[in-house]
């Protein structure tokens, strides 16, 4: 008896000795993300396959012991089928993709000249200019959306100004449509576009452009055959940084988009808080995650390709 106890203690001591500081360091963040990130994702997948139920929590279990020897796993695919047959959800997907895509393109159109101008300004001002791009990002997100409510609403700044100068007689409907949601997203995520573009353009060798001019190229041609390819990594990174949060956005379409701009984010919210349908909300979330993961993987691949070609 005594020997066994001793053996166990020595085995335990060995184990403790093997656990070095390194293991502890790895385990602390790992345990956190395992519990509060991976677990919730698995639960989300599980609930997306269960039935809705009027109870607490409002869904059925998908794994049941129906007899002593039988384990039953029942997957309800109905939650997903509904998403691809009901017109409301399909419209939600297209609205989300269109708004996110249009905002990304607009951010690129506004952000590229700005990033280029900052990168070409004298070194003294560069960090101040960059800081100024970032500063609105530090103010509250809700406030930035609210600023546009103030500008666009029927009794808001723009309508008041236009009426004062008698350009219009009745207020224009500037808010509560998908354009307003686009403007809000562009405004909120423009810094995300400018920063990667700036760091790509800043690294560029300007003598290449001068060489192109010397060889008789027009500015437009020099731009498209030299600047654009060299800034491509920044374009991909910036586009992903705008598109990915834009597609799952909830606050901006909710406050600026009005009732008919139903994005996926809003559908998830409504399913959960309005219909109390956890399984549908979970299934919608999974679809939304797929929309987010695809562009992320694509840009990761682009990054790897550009690194490989550089080598």
């Amino acid at each position: 008896m005594y020997r066994i106890e001793e053996l166990i203690i020595s085995w335990f001591r060995d184990l403790v000795k093997k656990i070095t500081g390194k293991h502890l360091l790895i385990s602390v963040p790992s345990i956190w993300t395992a519990i509060f990130f991976i677990c919730p994702c698995l639960i989300l997948v599980k609930i997306s396959f269960s039935d809705s139920l009027i109870a607490s929590p409002p869904y059925t279990s998908i794994i049941d012991m129906i007899s002593e020897y039988t384990l039953q796993i029942r997957l309800n695919l109905g939650n997903y089928l509904v998403l691809f047959t009901d017109e409301m959800y399909l419209r939600g997907f297209t609205t989300s993709i269109l708004i996110a895509g249009a905002s990304t393109v607009c951010c690129l159109i506004i952000g590229f000249p700005m990033a280029y101008a900052i990168a070409r300004s004298s070194e003294k001002y560069r960090s101040i200019l960059l800081m100024l791009v970032l500063l609105p990002f530090w103010t509250s997100f809700l406030i930035r959306v609210y600023a546009w409510i103030m500008l666009l609403s029927p009794c808001g700044f723009i309508n008041t100004l236009l009426m004062k100068f008698h350009l219009i007689n009745s207020p224009l409907q500037l808010m509560n449509n998908s354009y307003a949601a686009c403007i809000g997203i562009i405004y909120a995520y423009l810094p995300f576009m400018i920063f990667p573009l700036y760091s790509a353009i800043e690294k560029m060798d300007y003598s290449l452009i001068e060489a192109a001019y010397d060889l008789g190229s027009s500015p437009i041609r020099a731009f498209f055959s030299i600047v654009v390819p060299l800034a491509a990594p920044g374009v991909y990174a910036g586009s992903a940084l705008v598109f990915v949060p834009a597609i799952g956005e909830f606050v901006i379409p909710e406050l600026l988009g009005g009732a008919q701009t139903l994005t996926i984010g809003r559908l998830v919210w409504n399913e959960f808080f309005g219909n109390m349908s956890w399984p549908t909300a979970a299934a919608l979330s999974i679809i939304l995650l797929i929309f987010v993961v695809i562009p992320t993987i694509f840009t990761q691949k682009q990054k790897e390709i550009s690194l490989l070609t550089k080598e």
């Binding site: 919730p40 101008a117 500063l135 609210y146 500008l151 949060p245 406050l255 909300a281 992320t296």
Partner: protein, 268 residues
Amino acid sequence: MRITWSKFVLTVGYLFLYFPLICIVIYSFNESRFVTVWSGFSLKWYKALMSNPIMLRATVTSLKIACISATISVVLGTIAAIVITRFSRFRGKSLFVGTVTAPLVMPEVVMGLSLLMLFVGMEKHFGWPSGGGTTTVIIAHITLTLSYVTMVVQARLQDLDKSVEEAALDLGASPLKVFFVITLPMISPSIVVGWLLAFALSLDDVVIASFVAGPGSTTLPMIVFSSLRFGITPEVNALATILMTVLSIGAIISAVCIYKKKKQMDLI
């Protein structure tokens, strides 16, 4: 020719970025309730804000949540950053990097929903965290901000000259001592930035908090959000101006600190 072009672009761009915010600041001092009329300078809305008990209580709750979650997030994030940059390949490293950075691209709605489902499940099986409160919001915000902090600290650690740490190790310092005497002072600016970023993100979040907050822990953004759904309220103007002032002062101070630190490093 080109100078005027770039000046034009920058003027229009910065006007787009700052005009809406300036409007808020100006109208927070407007006597009238409506944006349409300017009826004189007044601090009425600031007074109304200060005497609004719901708003004040929510502000205290939000600040508390932001402080606690930013602090824990910085500790966890720094550890994660060290693991990513300083440890040689170990089994599951790519999984580690993936799970730590994934919340960066996770839509807020999905994160809030999945965390709530976890908390409901946990409460059912373990009886914790019962009845909401601020704990759930703090946990959710740590999970959200952890990846941002990790990215910020990791970027700094990668730029750092490893030979200094190696020299200290060669001279017989323990890894723990190396971290506290050499590494920590060198990465301290990025830790400050990480903390501020986590603080700002937590103070900003409305979606995740709406999902996981218990009955007694309504945060400031949740109150602002529900009042914005009813349209323009001048009190929000005043609140926005105060928040903007505080946050931009914080941002400027941190920028100056980093700039000074960088200069110091360059001199060394």
